[in-house]
């Protein structure tokens, strides 16, 4: 990759991260105002999600979880239809039946989103088996957290994916928090990546708050999965800046650790790097931020103006 395309890429990545942040902040504000139900935000983890998705091909598939905004928006999901879903509107991607926690967008390859911690790990092996047996070229990326890695299904999934040689890019967004419990209370190892090798799975750990580092690591990891047809585990070392589920006062959070991570905010890091290197003039950065805010304002207006589902929708889409 030459430096020019990298510069263009990073500005595009910054724009996506800004979009994710603005989207989540709109949900938080709506939640405080009592207009939007609470949700699990990805604030602080934007680089981990955007960097990986930017490395995927159009025919690759994605399985994600309740902290999915970065994956969905980076994949090209319409913020208006996402916010409509979060607000329970008929125009949402899932007709308002999902809410924020398990939004799938099949047309973009975001499949079978599950909020059961580890649910995506149980399903990804089957999706990858279909890819392999039906001769499709796309690999399958599975986003999960350090909390899910402590579920038994993580180990069952890695074992089967390795034994059956399935083309899965496992991406652990290690955000240090498992709902209201810090990772250090539940794991003896620092890194989830350490748990891949015993299953015969190659792995890497990357600074999840550096969007370019994540993108480059994901490009390499995805390429290995494509080439070998075998699983790979990439761990993004990042931090959940907000609470588990809005609203959350985060009284349980160590303020020193919190402050240290906020000083490495992924958006601020990328923005500063682009400005310092002269690739993004300050006034263009400001214009970028304004465009993103306008986009989310329009999305919110669309969602608010959208109709609620008809009562009969309560029992449709149950059986095929």
């Amino acid at each position: 990759m030459n430096s020019e395309s990298q510069a263009i890429d990073e500005i595009a990545l910054l724009e996506q991260m800004l979009l994710v942040r603005a989207y989540e902040e709109a949900i938080v504000a709506g939640s405080v105002a009592g207009k939007i139900p609470g949700s699990c935000t990805s604030v602080g983890q934007e680089a981990a999600g955007v960097g990986v998705v930017s490395a995927l091909h159009g025919d690759d598939l994605i399985l994600t979880n309740h902290r999915s905004a970065a994956h969905l928006l980076a994949r090209g999901a319409d913020p208006g239809r996402l916010l409509a879903e979060v607000m329970g509107r008929a125009t949402g991607y899932c007709k308002g039946k999902s809410g924020s926690l398990h939004i799938s967008v099949r047309e973009l390859g975001v499949m079978l989103t599950s909020t059961i911690v580890g649910g995506e790990l149980s399903l990804v092996t089957g999706v990858a088996l279909s890819q392999k047996m039906l001769g499709r070229t796309g690999i399958v990326t599975c986003f999960f957290g350090d909390g899910a890695a402590c579920e038994g299904i993580f180990h069952e999934s890695l074992n089967l994916a390795s034994v059956w040689e399935l083309p899965i890019l496992y991406v652990c967004e290690n955000n240090q928090w498992q709902a209201f419990v810090h990772r250090r209370e539940t794991m003896k190892t620092e890194h989830v990546a350490d748990w891949a090798a015993p299953y015969g799975i190659d792995h890497a750990t990357v600074d999840g708050n550096d969007v370019l580092a994540v993108r480059n690591a994901a490009l390499e990891a995805a390429e290995q999965v494509r080439r070998s047809g075998r699983p790979f585990l990439l761990e993004s070392w990042t931090y959940r800046s907000r609470g588990h589920f809005e609203p959350d006062d985060q009284a349980y959070v160590d303020p020193t650790e919190h402050a240290a991570w906020l000083a490495r905010d992924p958006i601020a890091l990328s923005r500063q790097r682009l400005i310092d290197s002269g690739r993004l003039p300050r006034e263009e950065a400001v214009a970028l931020e304004r465009r993103v805010r306008e986009c989310i304002a329009a999305a919110l207006a669309f969602a608010e103006a959208s109709p609620l589902p008809a009562p009969g929708e309560m029992t449709t889409d149950v059986y095929a």
């Binding site: 499949m111 059961i116 149980s122 089957g126 999706v127 088996l129 149950v318």
Partner: protein
């Protein structure tokens, strides 16, 4: 008509459906070991052994079903379904609805249950009602070799997740299976014996006890109608209600625990839709609120037997 054991009937259904549709595959605990003739015909990619890990087997099936394959999985014993509840109930049963209809889950889960092997409560638990109570799932439990084949073929072709319970006491009892393409539609109860005085509704092994009791009742001058549900969801409530309109009396019989069992739903539907026809209270015969014992007499006593069914029907008619 040729006779097959249900074990062979299941094998025949799998082979026919795998020939019929190249997306059908079967995997699970010892599947390739037990059914090596399927491996010989269809190869190791479509007939797979798995780790003894029910959660990932069921999750893999759900993921594959949503993306173009039609898996049949064998989880061995019904109590082992507890390890697969998340994948079956939260994923296969709900993600179609949650996603607003973006996915379907054409998959079949096989599990053995019931007394007959003397292995105790962690292998023997008739927990089929749990799945009847879970949205998005269909639940079958056949009693005859022909239905094992015909219902399994329908289940494989169905676009929904189907739980297929195998009463292990029946697994090696030969029975008639129609030749050729034998399909039994889901959701259709089977009236095995016509009668006018009392309706006996059952499924699984207790269907045979009901038939034996009906023969004894005939000797006592009582005409019993015997209905084999076969499909617990969809439930053929119309067939039961029509029968009770005719007979005015109902005995529901199953090996599963009486408390909140399928029989409770049947009794409720009859009370709602055929109350005026009832000439006597409804009787439910079922297992106790207790785990199944390994010891043979205790294991066998769990399921209602012929004398109990006979006595119940007789008490309603006098």
């Amino acid at each position: 008509m040729p006779t097959l054991t249900p074990f062979a009937a299941i094998g025949a259904a799998l082979a026919e459906e795998m020939r019929h549709d190249p997306t059908v595959l079967v995997f699970g605990e010892g599947v390739a070991t037990k059914r090596h003739e399927l491996v010989d015909e269809f190869g190791p990619a479509r007939v797979r052994n798995t780790p003894l890990a029910e959660g990932i087997i069921a999750g893999t099936a759900a993921g594959a079903a949503a993306t173009g394959l039609r898996p049949v999985i064998d989880l061995l014993f019904a109590p082992f379904l507890c390890y697969a509840m998340d994948e079956l109930v939260n994923s296969a049963g709900k993600l179609r609805f949650i996603s607003g209809g973006q996915f379907a889950f054409p998959m079949v889960t096989l599990a053995m249950t019931g007394g007959g092997w003397g292995v105790g409560a962690q292998h023997n638990h008739n927990n089929e009602a749990w799945f009847v109570h879970s949205p998005g799932l269909k639940v079958l439990m056949p009693s005859s070799a022909g239905d094992f084949k015909g219902l399994l073929k329908s289940a494989i072709r169905d676009d929904n997740p189907v739980l297929f319970f195998i009463d292990l006491a029946l697994l090696h009892q030969p029975g008639e299976v129609p030749e050729g393409e034998h399909i039994v539609r889901l959701g259709m109860a089977n009236v095995l014996r016509q009668g006018t005085d009392v309706t006996l509704v059952s499924y699984g092994k207790t269907v045979h006890a009901c038939l034996a009791a009906a023969a004894q009742l005939a000797d006592a001058g009582i005409s019993a109608e015997v209905i084999d549900l076969r499909s617990l969801k969809p439930l053929d409530g119309a067939a039961i209600v029509a029968s009770v309109h005719k007979t005015g009396r109902l005995v529901v019989v199953h090996e599963a625990a009486r408390m909140a069992g399928v029989g409770a739903e049947i009794a409720a539907q009859v009370a709602e839709h055929a109350f005026a026809s009832l000439r006597a209270p409804i009787i439910r015969l079922g297992g106790p609120d207790a785990p199944a014992a390994a010891s043979h007499p205790l294991e066998q006593a769990f399921a209602p037997d012929v004398p109990a069914i006979f006595a119940a029907a007789l008490s309603l008619c006098h």
